[in-house]
């Protein structure tokens, strides 16, 4: 091939990165516009959480920690809402708290979307409680493992903790049947395993952002009961929930709906990876021929 004439390899190498951005944007926007939804089936690691909540007798205590902020809401909020809906449906006691300062606003969103919408009959202080945020990171988890009321003297609204029915037989985390952490970093799921699950022999499960998920798989299944990894994990839990309880189909399919754009965007990225590799090998072959 004559020098100066551009072949397919040169064209592929010179693709403007903005074209890639545009195609990714289209891959996300078009499935959202056309409501493209794929079927989702839950995997054993997600089913383990669902089955655990299913198996708990009514009145069992479940703590749900909001260890994330607004930046990861698309991944974490569907997880939190799906498990909270399941916990309340099974008549379990829901204790909500946050190790992250950005957690309480997400708790408020959950209260509006789940409790006030689907469970208006549930009574605050008897069926669910919001303990709010406390500073201390893993030190807080370490402290409430031994003395929860010592750290949480009031709920988020300033009412003395002793005034609530569901707090009367709670001294520390070992009174909980299950710890659920919805997290996106430090402190989060790993700290709940290290400072509560392992030393207190309390089942720990929950969901994390996809970036963090690979770091937590080594804890499964002996130290971590189950794990929702990213949006896919949230969608799998929603699938398990709506399969068993179809009445939540309208309210608990946030992640399932977002998996449409996710899948299309992944296909586009895979196509780019394939094209990039073809260009790489084609260039190598061309260079070899030129040298020969």
């Amino acid at each position: 091939m004559a020098e100066g004439k551009r072949d397919i390899v040169d064209i592929l190498k010179a693709i403007d990165r903005r074209i890639i951005f545009l195609l990714i944007a289209l891959a996300v926007i078009l499935p959202l516009v056309f409501h493209l939804v794929f079927s989702v089936h839950s995997s054993p690691i997600v089913e383990a959480i669902f089955d655990k909540i299913e198996s708990l007798p009514p009145g069992s205590k479940v703590i749900l920690s909001f260890d994330y902020g607004p930046s990861t809401v698309p991944e974490n909020q569907p997880m939190a809402e799906a498990v909270a809906r399941h916990v309340l449906h099974k008549d379990l006691k829901l204790y909500m708290m946050a190790v992250w300062a950005t957690g309480p606003p997400q708790t408020e969103v959950l209260i509006a979307n789940v409790i006030e919408t689907d469970f208006p009959e549930k009574v605050y202080g008897e069926d669910w409680i919001n303990l709010g945020y406390k500073a201390g990171n893993q030190g807080l988890i370490n402290a409430i493992l031994l003395d929860l009321k010592g750290m949480y003297t009031t709920d988020i609204h300033g009412t003395s903790i002793d005034e609530f029915e569901m707090m009367k037989d709670v001294d520390n985390l070992t009174d909980m049947s299950l710890i659920l952490c919805i997290g996106s970093g430090f402190p989060g799921m790993r700290e709940w395993v290290q400072f509560a699950g392992d030393p207190g022999d309390i089942p720990v499960a929950g969901g994390v952002t996809a970036v963090e998920a690979p770091l937590l798989y080594p804890y499964y299944p002996r130290q971590l009961l189950g794990l929702m990894g990213g949006l896919q994990g949230a969608a799998e839990y929603e699938a398990a929930l709506v399969t068993k309880y179809p009445q939540y189909k309208a309210s608990s399919e946030q992640a399932i709906q977002l998996m449409g754009p996710q899948t299309v965007a992944h296909l586009v990225i895979i196509a780019f990876v394939v094209v990039g590799n073809i260009a790489f090998f084609a260039e190598r072959r061309r260079d070899r021929r030129r040298k020969a």
């Binding site: 944007a25 300062a101 290290q194 996710q262 992944h266």
Partner: protein, 223 residues
């Protein structure tokens, strides 16, 4: 009305940040600086009202903050909290060169506490716990037979752990069978990195989807 204004501000800031994908520009810079400033202010306020006030001021002088923060009405002063108050003040001496060495005492306390607290937990959960997690039966029995899938999974885990450990063992030259195991270890590491990359892509696309969904809500509010 207030919600509409919030939606417009959030939508415009989203577009300002996205404009960086085309090229760096003053709109992106404005949004970036605004984010840094608001974040710094937010965390300062959180630090004062979630840490300093309830954990120090309310303990030493409860009556002074009883109307501002959540605390029991009958709270009594706990004078031993003067010790962390002194350590906190010592930390601030870093700002004065002449006596900045005093801050090392506070730092020593923080580092000592963190090391002591974390050491035992990491040792139990991440070291001993992970070794225990890696010891799985190679022959897995289920329903009177052998669970082939679980058995293969256990073998892959065992081979992966051993080969990856061999790759990081530098006291013996990586030749012969040892070298082959080391190379296999690299393959396992590459698969791990690939899986982590895949998950990272999923996370970023999820965030993009969330933003696009928000912009859709904003557009819906207009039309």
């Amino acid at each position: 009305m207030a919600h509409t204004i919030e939606l417009w501000i959030a939508a415009l800031l989203t577009f300002m940040i996205f404009s960086f994908l085309y090229k760096d520009n003053p709109f992106y810079k404005f949004a970036e600086h605004l984010f840094v400033g608001v974040s710094a202010a937010y965390w300062m306020v959180i630090g004062i009202w979630s840490t300093l006030m309830p954990n120090l001021v309310a303990r030493l002088w409860p009556s002074s903050v009883s109307g501002f923060i959540n605390m029991p009405e009958d709270a009594q002063p706990e004078y031993h909290f003067i010790i962390p108050a002194i350590f906190g003040i010592l930390m601030l001496t870093r700002l004065i060169d002449r006596i900045s060495w005093l801050s090392r005492w506070a730092m020593a306390f923080v580092i000592g506490f963190a090391a002591g607290t974390n050491f035992t937990r990491y040792l139990q959960s991440d070291f001993v716990g992970q070794i225990y997690n890696s010891m799985l039966p190679i022959i897995v029995k289920a329903d009177g037979g052998i669970a082939v899938g679980a058995a293969i999974s256990s073998i892959v885990l065992m081979v992966g752990v051993i080969c990856a450990l061999i790759y990081f063992f530098f006291s013996k030259e990586h030749t012969g069978a040892f070298g082959a195991a080391s190379r296999l270890g690299i393959w396992f590491l590459m698969v791990t990195f690939g899986a982590a990359f895949g998950y990272t892509v999923m996370a970023r696309i999820s965030l993009l989807t969330g933003r696009v969904q928000f912009l859709g809500e904003w557009l819906t509010s207009i039309f």
